[in-house]
């Protein structure tokens, strides 16, 4: 990690901390949500952006974290922090099982297999509606939404906790991609055969990348559940898998800052669009098509290409 890497990323983290004191109430709330969802996008970026695994099923990992927390605190009255760890475990385990099976395929097949697994997971949530309350979802009881004396339903605490989680995930992903392990992942994305020829255990690395990616996504899902107090099946639906892809592509796949930039842009774009029409997802579709046509690198990717060659 160079000093320049550190200053730029720590700069963003410091800036977000400063915004806590500046932002008006509405945008303060939006930013808290953006930071949690950016953690999900950071997780997706490790699989898609760095390792080149086009998954259309990451909502199942987000959902695993979310329902891990939701069921633990709703049915078993487990407090927020241990529940969150349970959610992490659910995500990691699911990613391991899915990875062992799905990584036997690649490319388009991998995308369809992950899509199908995620669809099955979504249907399982609806099927066991006795525990998950199906489409209605679970509302997490207020006394389960506290870590010690911090009340997570309080907006200030929520922002700071989202900020802390985001900072950890951002620095973790920066460290990972600068680490030799992360460099091997990039090598896998660029040319898997060559990496194998050089003696790397490509299957093991891809599995590890997917498990890390799934666990981070689950961390975001679990945090979302406690922070916003609601667990719903729609978060595990195919739309949330596509959102992750959209955010990462918009911000810049394979860049550390890209996921945050993508979520932030898309959130405000949707905000503006849904004020105009109920068909606000139209914007998401147009953005996806335009991105693939004209800017496959995304926003941060373009910055890297033009101004800052070694941006991680």
């Amino acid at each position: 990690m160079t000093r320049r890497d550190l200053t730029s990323h720590l700069g963003l983290i410091a800036g977000l901390f400063a915004l806590h004191f500046i932002l008006p109430a509405y945008h303060h709330g939006v930013f808290a949500r953006v930071m949690v969802l950016a953690v999900y996008a950071i997780g997706y970026n490790i699989a898609f952006g760095y390792t080149g695994l086009l998954s259309l099923g990451h909502a199942m990992f987000f959902g695993a974290g979310m329902y891990g927390v939701g069921i633990a605190s709703y049915h078993f009255a487990i407090p927020a922090l241990p529940a969150w760890i349970i959610g992490l475990g659910c995500g990691a385990l699911l990613a391991l099982v899915v990875g062992l099976l799905a990584l036997r395929t690649e490319g388009v097949s991998f995308m369809i297999v992950t899509l199908m697994f995620a669809q099955a997971a979504y249907l399982v949530i609806l099927y066991f509606s006795e525990y998950t309350r199906g489409d209605d979802g679970l509302v997490i009881p207020g006394d389960m939404r506290a870590i010690g004396s911090w009340d997570l339903s309080d907006e200030g605490t929520r922002y700071l906790l989202a900020w802390a989680l985001f900072s950890i995930a951002l620095m973790l992903s920066l460290w990972l991609v600068r680490h030799p392990f992360g460099r091997v992942l990039v090598a896998l994305r660029e040319n898997e055969e060559r990496a194998r020829l050089l003696g790397y255990d490509t299957g093991g690395r891809k599995l590890a990348a997917l498990v890390i990616s799934g666990t981070i996504s689950a961390a975001a899902g679990g945090a979302y559940a406690t922070m916003f107090g609601y667990v719903g099946a729609s978060f595990a639906g195919v739309q949330y898998s596509i959102f992750a892809l959209l955010w990462v592509l918009l911000g810049g796949a394979g860049t550390v800052l890209g996921p945050f930039v993508g979520v932030l842009f898309m959130t405000y774009l949707n905000d503006v669009a849904s004020g105009v029409t109920e068909a606000y997802m139209l914007i998401a579709g147009v953005v996806l098509v335009l991105l693939t046509l004209f800017a496959p690198q995304g926003i941060v990717g373009e910055i890297r290409r033009r101004f800052w060659k070694d941006l991680p």
Partner: protein, 311 residues
């Protein structure tokens, strides 16, 4: 109703689903077979077909046509319109991506939302019906042992409609026509040549880009035709594409990507078993089993259950 007639009813409903699914999935399979790309927006072309059928019949009703004339107009115009839209999308978007498989997936996801949301804006959030050209109720007989030996009777509730039978026959005719077109006509020959080796086809003077646009349009038109056929049974709604897309993915994968015969066999298998499994289990469980089965087929037998390994 007893079990036997009940099962027969489930199989009839399953056959209607299988017919529509076979049409739709063969469009997806045709596009994958020739162009080697997965069209994620395929379900939206099906929805657009159904919506266009409503638009055309509404327009024709204004001209004072009867249900049969209106329906024929819809069956001709809707696939044409949808096919043209798809061919245009191919030229404007997919061609510029050089048909790179992963970028095409992302672009067609975008296309999916554009079409779906445009339908929401133009057509509205409500489901709207189209009147079937004919819809006589046909009671079906059942045989059982009675006092006088084997008796034939008409159990209450065991019936279908002439329109549902028409859907099955129409799908069979269209698929047979498609098969003949691909194997016997010159255009079919050109498509198969492009499928086998695009570069070589170019070298022999085949306008590959135009073939791709036509194939993409034809695939979408097949989906639209399926949409037109289903709309008198199941109203047109802007979100109807999602489930249909998933089902046709399932069919195409089980049948072997790109194999037309396998697709039809798989459509019958999935359509019928969906009808029958839903009788014994809840539909959600049936869907869970089907999606997991597809994932495992792709993992362990990527050429599909009926496909042959190529190369």
């Amino acid at each position: 109703m007893e079990f036997g007639p009940y099962l027969m009813l489930a199989m009839l409903e399953g056959a209607v689903l299988a017919a529509v699914l076979a049409l739709m999935a063969s469009g997806l399979s045709l596009v994958f077979g020739v162009m080697r790309v997965v069209n994620v927006a395929h379900g939206e072309f099906y929805m657009l077909g159904a919506v266009m059928a409503w638009v055309v019949t509404q327009f024709m009703m204004g001209l004072g046509g009867g249900p049969a004339v209106n329906f024929i107009a819809a069956a001709v115009l809707a696939p044409l319109i949808v096919g043209s839209i798809a061919a245009a999308a191919d030229v404007v978007i997919l061609k510029r991506l050089n048909y790179d498989p992963e970028r095409v997936i992302v672009a067609t996801i975008g296309l999916l939302y554009i079409i779906q949301q445009a339908a929401l804006m133009g057509y509205g959030p409500d489901a709207k019906p189209v009147v079937a050209p004919f819809n006589e109720r046909i009671a079906l007989p059942w045989v059982a042992w009675g006092e006088n030996g084997l008796e034939m009777y008409y159990p209450w509730g065991l019936s279908t409609t002439s329109y549902k039978l028409f859907v099955i026959v129409a799908a069979v005719v269209i698929l047979a026509g498609l098969r003949l077109f691909m194997t016997r006509s010159r255009a079919g020959l050109i498509m198969r040549a492009t499928q086998l080796d695009g570069e070589m086809a170019t070298a022999f003077g085949i306008p590959v880009e135009r073939v791709y646009a036509i194939v993409f349009g034809a695939g979408a038109a097949l989906a639209a035709l399926a949409g037109v056929l289903i709309v008198p049974i199941q109203q047109a709604h802007y979100l109807m594409g999602g489930d249909a897309l998933l089902l046709s993915f399932i069919v195409v994968i089980i049948g072997g990507l790109g194999s037309l015969a396998g697709t039809v066999v798989a459509a019958v298998l999935i359509g019928m078993s969906d009808g029958i499994i839903s009788v014994f289990f809840t539909p959600t469980l049936a869907k869970i089993i089907a999606t997991l089965a597809v994932a495992l087929v792709l993992v362990f037998r990527p050429q599909g259950l009926f496909g042959v390994k190529n190369r």
